[in-house]
């Protein structure tokens, strides 16, 4: 952080030049993107439109806008507005908004502290899709689907589910919660998925699952596949499902039903897609005019026609015969706008974990919800008190002086000077590496590590000393081995690393040895095919593996069905991510698959260093094959494998992608490793970078300590066996 301060004058925020072309960022795709481009083309003025991946939007905005980089205006969901406002990423929209054109509800969504922070474009929410071929009429109540499921079964249509929706997703659960009078986040920013209403809503969903009315493991892809494939009579989904449907499935979209138990209608969460202005965009009149242009009636009509989106404006009429848009528009009018408080971003994770736990196991509902509330409060806890930075500055100053003193004394001494002169040649070889790694790798790491001493929301960051570390190491006052505590996660991480490295090394070494056989046919073909797991980007294959473990569609379930058909057994499909053991195994399988080619290639490379004559000599001396492998080959390849194994262990320890993409921490965060915890603190728990950095520092300290110990142990033991044969010419 000190370095950041030092750099600040260099990284001067560029003043918004009035003649710069306007930059507009969005994450739209397909027809929505086409419609936006058409609307922008209609505006006379120069606009740079940038389409971003949806995941990187928030991070990119957070990094760019404070530096005066990034967009003048961007399109995002209104619920991020509170968070953006706190981070000073957006400014009030002023005359870009024409408030009289919008309904009360829409204006509330973009209001914070009585000021408007966005210009609404369109509304998104879920509604009920109905396939009349599978079931003729729409039930009045949610409970009515249970009867439909029974009758579908009686008719022998067991492959067809009555209602497909993402029961485990809080966004999809919200309509039911609303019908019971609850909400995900209260207006004061307290966790809402708790108490009798939330419990009753979940008891109802359990009934829906237990009666087979709603599929158990439904995610977005499953819902859409079931409905598209004519395997679901009804589905709760948003307009994005309609975009995937063609004429082969007859369907209509209608309002969500009532919940009979309360006699109240299900009301979905409404997202308002909004144009927001960055602080340097809001001051430019032409940027505000462009924002108004994007939201103008003509633009709304075009979006409605091309991208099938529900206009946020009241003065844009939807054609009477457009049943789909009519349905979504009236559903949105009956919906509940998502809260735009910054706390909303902390609601999803605990709510999702609670829902998964409650719907996959038979835990007590109230208990699971209370745990979720604790998690929420834990994330929302006030940052530690600010401390005076003088002690650390003092320590730092003394350390620097001491270091400088030692250095000067060493250089000025006779031997020191001699050594320095002798080192001069070597320095010419290493200088550029020192500069490149120093500036682009070390410096960010050091600065990142220093943020561990700071806390507080972005914009109000303050120095807190070692408070972040203290909180982590004391598990924030909860039992030391409670779920999500540093120590429990550390144990999982260590087991994860050991198991993975053992498999990587075992498989890699075995295949490397086999592939190095001199007379092997088709060697090149095998090598190329075996390297494939490593050639395909790992986020792609991690997702492929996740798909294979899917309970309903996964290849593993396919195998089980095939075995059942063939042998007449009745093995149940495994729900991989509802138990720790199977979820952990799924992660390990994926990571072993990803990692063994690396070890294999390294082994092949290392084996080239084994001199043939030594092996021949051993053979002549009557050594068996195992003896040759164990006493000749392995000792020789060991030094070249050691760095790869060490690095492999370090990378596995920090293997974020696999854990995050395959199990995602399921069930209930138990398969998370330290680095995925750190990521959650940085990116899903309101950008607590200081806290995440403290995790990173702890990971670093652990790894540094472990490698130090291990290398000492290895040096003490193995040197005699191979040091002579291999290091003959080390001194120069």
């Amino acid at each position: 952080m000190l370095v950041v301060v030092a750099l600040a004058p260099v990284a001067r925020p560029r003043l918004a030049a009035a003649d710069e072309p306007i930059r507009l960022w969005h994450a739209y795709r397909g027809e929505e993107e086409a419609a936006l481009n058409e609307i922008v083309a209609d505006w006379d003025g120069s606009v740079d439109v940038l389409a971003l991946p949806y995941d990187s939007m928030a991070n990119k905005l957070g990094a760019a806008i404070p530096l005066g980089e990034g967009p003048h205006l961007f399109i995002d969901s209104h619920e991020r507005l509170g968070d953006y406002r706190r981070r000073k990423i957006i400014a009030a929209v002023g005359d870009a908004l024409q408030p009289s054109a919008y309904g009360e509800q829409t204006l509330t969504a973009i209001t914070s502290d009585g000021v408007y922070w966005g210009v609404p474009l369109s509304l998104k929410c879920v509604a009920l899709y109905h396939n009349p071929q599978l079931w003729p009429d729409v039930p009045d109540t949610l409970e009515g689907f249970i009867d439909i499921a029974e009758q579908l079964e009686q008719r022998g249509q067991d492959g067809v589910v009555a209602l497909a929706y993402e029961a485990r997703n809080p966004y999809a659960h919200a309509p039911i919660l609303h019908a019971f009078g609850g909400q995900l986040l209260t207006t004061d920013g307290e966790f809402g998925l708790v108490g009798p209403q939330a419990e009753a809503s979940l008891a109802l969903v359990r009934r829906l699952l237990d009666s087979g009315t709603v599929p158990r493991d439904a995610d977005g892809a499953l819902v859409s596949n079931l409905f598209r494939g004519g395997k679901a009579a009804f589905a709760i989904s948003g307009p994005w499902l309609a975009a995937d449907l063609d004429d082969s499935i007859p369907y209509e979209v209608v309002l969500l039903p009532d919940v009979a138990q309360t006699g109240t209608a299900m009301r979905p969460l409404v997202t308002v897609e909004t144009v927001m202005l960055s602080p340097f965009g809001a001051v430019r009149a032409d940027v505000r005019t462009l924002a108004a242009h994007l939201a103008a009636p003509a633009a709304a009509m075009l979006r409605q026609r091309r991208a099938r989106s529900v206009p946020a404006r009241l003065d844009v009429a939807i054609p009477e015969d457009d049943r789909l848009l009519q349905a979504f528009a009236s559903q949105a009018a009956r919906g509940v706008p998502m809260s735009n408080l910054a706390a909303m971003r902390s609601t999803w994770e605990p709510a999702r974990r609670a829902l998964r736990k409650i719907l996959a196991t038979d835990v007590d509902i109230a208990e699971a919800l209370n745990e979720a509330q604790h998690r929420f409060d834990d994330v929302r806890r006030p940052p530690p008190d600010a401390r005076s930075p003088s002690p650390i500055l003092g320590v730092l100053g003394v350390a620097l002086m001491w270091g400088a003193f030692i250095l000067v004394r060493r250089v000025r001494s006779e031997t020191g000077r001699l050594e320095l002169r002798r080192s001069w040649t070597a320095y010419r070889y290493v200088a550029h590496a020192v500069i490149a790694v120093g500036i682009l790798v070390m410096l960010p790491l050091v600065v990142g590590a220093a943020t561990a001493l700071f806390a507080g929301p972005p914009g109000e960051v303050r120095y807190v000393g070692l408070a972040n570390f203290a909180e982590i190491l004391t598990a924030r006052g909860r039992p030391l081995l409670s779920s999500g505590s540093f120590y429990l996660v550390l144990i999982v991480t260590v087991v994860w690393t050991v198991v993975n490295v053992a498999f990587h090394l075992g498989i890699g070494l075995a295949l490397g040895l086999v592939l190095s056989r001199p007379l092997l046919r088709m060697k090149a073909v095998y090598r190329v095919l075996l390297i494939i797991p490593w050639a395909v980007p790992n986020y792609v294959t991690a997702l492929a593996w996740k798909g294979m473990f899917h309970r309903q569609f996964g290849a593993i379930t396919g195998f089980i069905t095939a075995i059942n058909d063939f042998l007449g057994t009745s093995i149940e499909p495994i729900s991989w991510f509802s138990r720790f053991s199977t979820a952990f195994a799924a992660n390990v399988a994926t990571n072993v698959w990803l990692g063994f080619p690396f070890m294999m290639v390294v082994t092949i490379g290392a084996l080239t260093a084994v001199p043939k004559d030594v092996l021949e000599a051993a053979e002549v001396d009557g050594a068996t094959r195992w003896q040759r492998l164990w006493h000749v080959t392995l000792p020789i390849v060991r030094p070249s494998l050691m760095p790869a194994v060490t690095l492999g262990a370090i990378w596995t320890f920090n293997m974020f992608n696999v854990v995050f993409l395959v199990s995602g921490g399921d069930p209930d965060g138990t398969t998370d490793i330290l680095v995925s915890e750190a990521y959650r603190w940085a990116f899903t728990r309101e950008a607590q970078y200081g806290y995440a950095a403290a995790y990173a520092v702890l990971i670093f300290v652990l790894l540094a300590g472990a490698t130090r110990l291990l290398s000492r142990a290895a040096n003490g033991r193995g040197k005699t066996a191979w040091a002579k044969s291999d290091r003959g010419g080390e001194e120069t």
Partner: protein
Amino acid sequence: MSRTMERIAVHIVLVGAVGFALYPVLWVVALALSGSPSPEAAALPIPSEPTLAHFEAVVTASKTMSHTTPQVEVWLFGRQLLNSLVVALATALVGIGIATPTAYALARFEFLGKTSGMRALLATQMFPAVASAIPLYLILDALSLLNSRTGLVLCYASTTVPFAIFQLRAAFEAIPVDLEEAAMVDGATRWQAFIKVVLPIARPAIAVTALFAFMSAYNEFILAATLLDDETMYTLPVMLQRFIGEYDAQWEKFAAGAILVSVPVMALFYLAQRHLVAGLASGGVKG
């Protein structure tokens, strides 16, 4: 007899391993070729209603540059493929260029700060990147390297350097020092001995290390998505990421894109492998 049995056993092991290695990839291929979602779980990756439409949609992606006059249609996929290749190739070259002399110095010279330097290099690998993204962004901004392929290449190259140094140092240490000494007796300077004698022998190791660098740059997307502000500068993984949206994901297109992204890397490995085999055949490694 036992030789034949053994040969068969080796091939069975290898075919099994290849099956394990290819199976998930074949699922990606099947998904990319599927015209409709398959509603049933299947053991074998067979596309339902095979079609090339997803590949076509990915490859033909283009963008009209609205602010230029006359309007220019840019073939986005071609641009992004070129970006990816150029960035990855430059990363491999710069990374190896920086790492090789350093690795050599670490293998052959004694100098002040050698041990602490090695430790610092290893330390960079231990620190998760979670907290360093924002400082890196600030530094690149100070160096005016944001939104440029040069900045991206420098970042990638620097991050691959520590690993490349470890690999190459081990390779250089395995080369007997007599060869260089012989060259230096014949009048070569140390640098000449390094370039003319050591590097050719270390070629296989350099090829493999360059491949590592190429692939890590080619597959990276978080930094690319953060640093680049122009679709015509995106690399392919960023394009892939665009198929995953807030509410839904276009998995078929994602899969098609993933396969297209992977093809150049596989081709490159095939080539590098020949180089590797040729390097081995030269036999310089045996002392």
